[in-house]
């Protein structure tokens, strides 16, 4: 029972991280129908930015909640700018070209961030500063629930609620939903599609940066290739939930995190990576549009 609860905690923590990244994939896919391969690397840049901000501002010296908040905010801002830049340089010129060409530039950007990251940040793993001192909140018993776990889950939840508010209640959120619904119609209705797309990338990248910062707290070893695998998995999570669907991305992320930790704990850790895909394929076969997605009926 203890082990079960422990895996539940681990799974939820990883699941929240996946969910945050998956939201970025789903948002971009919703408006551009693009698998933004560079997204996982933006998450890496988020972790790296947090690392450097923490050192420059002196928060690396002593743990503090304020330090964490400031570092995460700065990292989110930096990555939002990076996301907007990527959209403008690599995707905007190709918007009216075949969709696959944009996919290739996405791959190019992803590689650029990875290899550029190895050059700029150095290829070796870095140790993320202890911005928060890890404490166990549950005394006794076999279950370890740290304040970091609670923080990760709590902050993720807050960010998701914030995103939901933006999407449902603000003008830009409404525009975003309109563009997701129909790109061409929105443009005809006078929505500034460029602004919407820039904002979409900024929001998604900021969430990824938050995820990167929090991963740094929990698994302090960060390196320029750290975004690759979580990136793919988060995208799979987004597809699992029904791509383009926000609650779906969150559910998919949590499901992904939970299955992975449980499979690693109870079956075999070597099959951990494969199981995610087995579930994905299973779901796609039964519900091709994902768990929460609506099937698209082709108009004849």
């Amino acid at each position: 029972m203890d082990q079960f609860l422990q895996q539940l905690v681990n799974g939820l923590t990883w699941g929240s991280i996946y969910a945050l990244i998956a939201l970025g994939y789903t948002m971009v896919y919703g408006v551009l129908r693009l698998i933004n391969f560079a997204h996982g690397d933006v998450y890496m840049v988020g972790a790296m930015c947090a690392f450097y901000f923490a050192h420059w501002l002196g928060f690396a010296a002593g743990p503090s909640l304020v330090g964490f908040a400031v570092v995460m905010f700065l990292s989110m801002t930096a990555c939002a700018a990076l996301g907007a830049l990527i959209e403008m340089v690599a995707y905007r010129p190709l918007r009216h070209q075949p969709r696959l060409s944009m996919l290739i530039t996405a791959i190019g950007v992803s590689m650029l961030l990875e290899f550029g990251g190895q050059r700029v940040f150095g290829p070796d793993p870095k140790f993320f500063p202890q911005l928060i001192e890890s404490r166990s909140l549950l005394a006794g018993g076999g279950v370890v629930l740290t304040n970091i776990d609670v923080l990760v889950i709590g902050v993720s939840l807050a960010l998701m609620i914030g995103l939901r508010w933006i999407v449902l209640k603000t003008r830009i959120g409404m525009a975003l939903r309109a563009v997701s619904f129909s790109y061409d119609t929105s443009a005809l209705m006078g929505i500034n599609v460029n602004t919407v797309l820039t904002c979409t990338f900024m929001l998604g990248s900021a969430l990824a940066a938050a995820a990167g910062t929090m991963v740094g707290l929990r698994n302090p070893k960060i390196d320029p290739l750290m975004g690759l695998v979580p990136g793919i998995k988060a995208f799979v999570a987004a597809v699992l939930g029904g791509i383009g669907n926000f609650p779906g991305a969150v559910a998919g992320g949590l499901l992904m995190g939970l299955t992975e930790t449980f499979v690693a704990a109870y079956l075999s850790s070597t099959y951990r990576d494969a199981v995610a895909f087995v579930i994905l394929i299973g779901v796609l076969l039964v519900k091709p549009a994902g768990l929460f997605g609506k099937p698209v009926v082709e108009k004849v």
Binding site: A90, S101, I107, Q118, I232, T270, Y271, I281, L284, L285
Partner: protein
């Protein structure tokens, strides 16, 4: 039979010429250049076969490296464990076995996934590619996580380019025949294709199997050229690299896929002078090439039509 030989005379001669050519090359090129040339040949097979699936039939697959892995491991298993040593023809038996294994895997994977469209298919094939990799890592009899050592080095310039030539010519004949045009029709408009009596599911699976077969052959050649295989050679990134060749060349264009396979194999080597900047320049070039030629180097045309249209506008 004689007429069959006559119809294929040029191809057969071309294939036969690879051996003297392969014997002559070491006199003019050093081992490093030869190795790159062999990699180009393997990548041509991969790019052209994926072009059949992605470019011609329009089914976006992100798992080509997985089929290459199956071919590599299956063929290595044949030469290492099954084929009697000393008996000639081991490489060809291995390549056929590798191709067949990959084709069967393509069939098994294609039946459920080809119902899915567009990006969903991409993700499902990506998933399968990863599953294949994880399964191999966990199979101790083929070396597991250590990789498979001691594969006899049977493949050479001649066998690689003989296969590449056969692959390109046969797939070209297929695509530009009454049997292949319906594949392109599926890419253009699947619903209309079905309304014209085309069994889209069957043809998609057929194209998928054919493409997988050649990916398997390429994997077999790769295994028997370097003599050691590890799942790290067949990751998602390898699949991406092959997709890049197809898209960069121009979807559906054979000559484009071949050109891109050459360019993307040579480019990292040319950039070696830059050492640590090599891959950075590579990725920037990739982005710039896509931005300047978003429909690929040749659009979806072959180089012959592309050249003649260039000449026509020049005149």
């Amino acid at each position: 039979m004689p007429s069959l030989v006559r119809a294929n005379a040029a191809l057969l001669i071309g294939v036969a010429l690879m051996w003297p050519l392969g014997a002559a090359l070491p006199a003019v090129l050093n081992a490093y250049y030869l190795q790159i040339i062999v990699y180009i040949g393997i990548n041509i097979i991969l790019a052209v076969s994926l072009n059949l699936i992605n470019g011609v039939t329009g089914q976006f697959s992100l798992g080509h490296a997985g089929f290459m892995a199956i071919g590599a491991y299956a063929s290595a298993a044949v030469t290492m464990f099954a084929w009697p040593s000393g008996l000639p023809g081991g490489l060809w038996a291995a390549l056929l076995a590798g191709g067949a294994a990959a084709a069967v895997a393509g069939l098994i994977i294609g039946i459920p996934t080809l119902r899915l469209r567009g990006d969903y298919l991409a993700i499902a094939t990506l998933g399968f590619g990863e599953i294949i990799r994880v399964v191999i890592v966990n199979t101790e009899s083929v070396g597991g996580a250590r990789g498979l050592f001691g594969i006899p080095s049977l493949a050479s310039f001649a066998s690689v380019y003989a296969c590449a030539l056969i692959c390109v010519v046969l797939l070209w004949r297929l695509v530009y025949s009454p049997k292949g045009i319906p594949l392109a029709a599926i890419r253009e408009d699947e619903m209309a294709a079905a309304a014209m009596g085309i069994d889209t599911t069957r043809l998609k699976i057929l194209a998928f199997m054919t493409g997988s077969f050649w990916a398997g052959v390429a994997g077999g050649l790769f295994a028997h050229f370097i003599g050691y295989i590890h799942t790290n050679s067949f990751t998602f990134l390898k699949s991406i690299e092959i997709v890049t060749m197809v898209v960069l060349g121009g979807m559906g264009s054979f000559s484009g896929a071949i050109l891109a396979a050459i360019a993307l194999t040579v480019l990292p080597e040319l950039l070696r002078f830059g050492a640590e900047y090599r891959m950075i320049i590579y990725s920037i070039l990739l982005i710039v090439m896509m931005l300047t030629r978003p429909r690929g180097l040749l659009g979806n045309r072959e180089i012959t039509t592309w050249l003649s249209s260039k000449l026509a506008t020049a005149r």
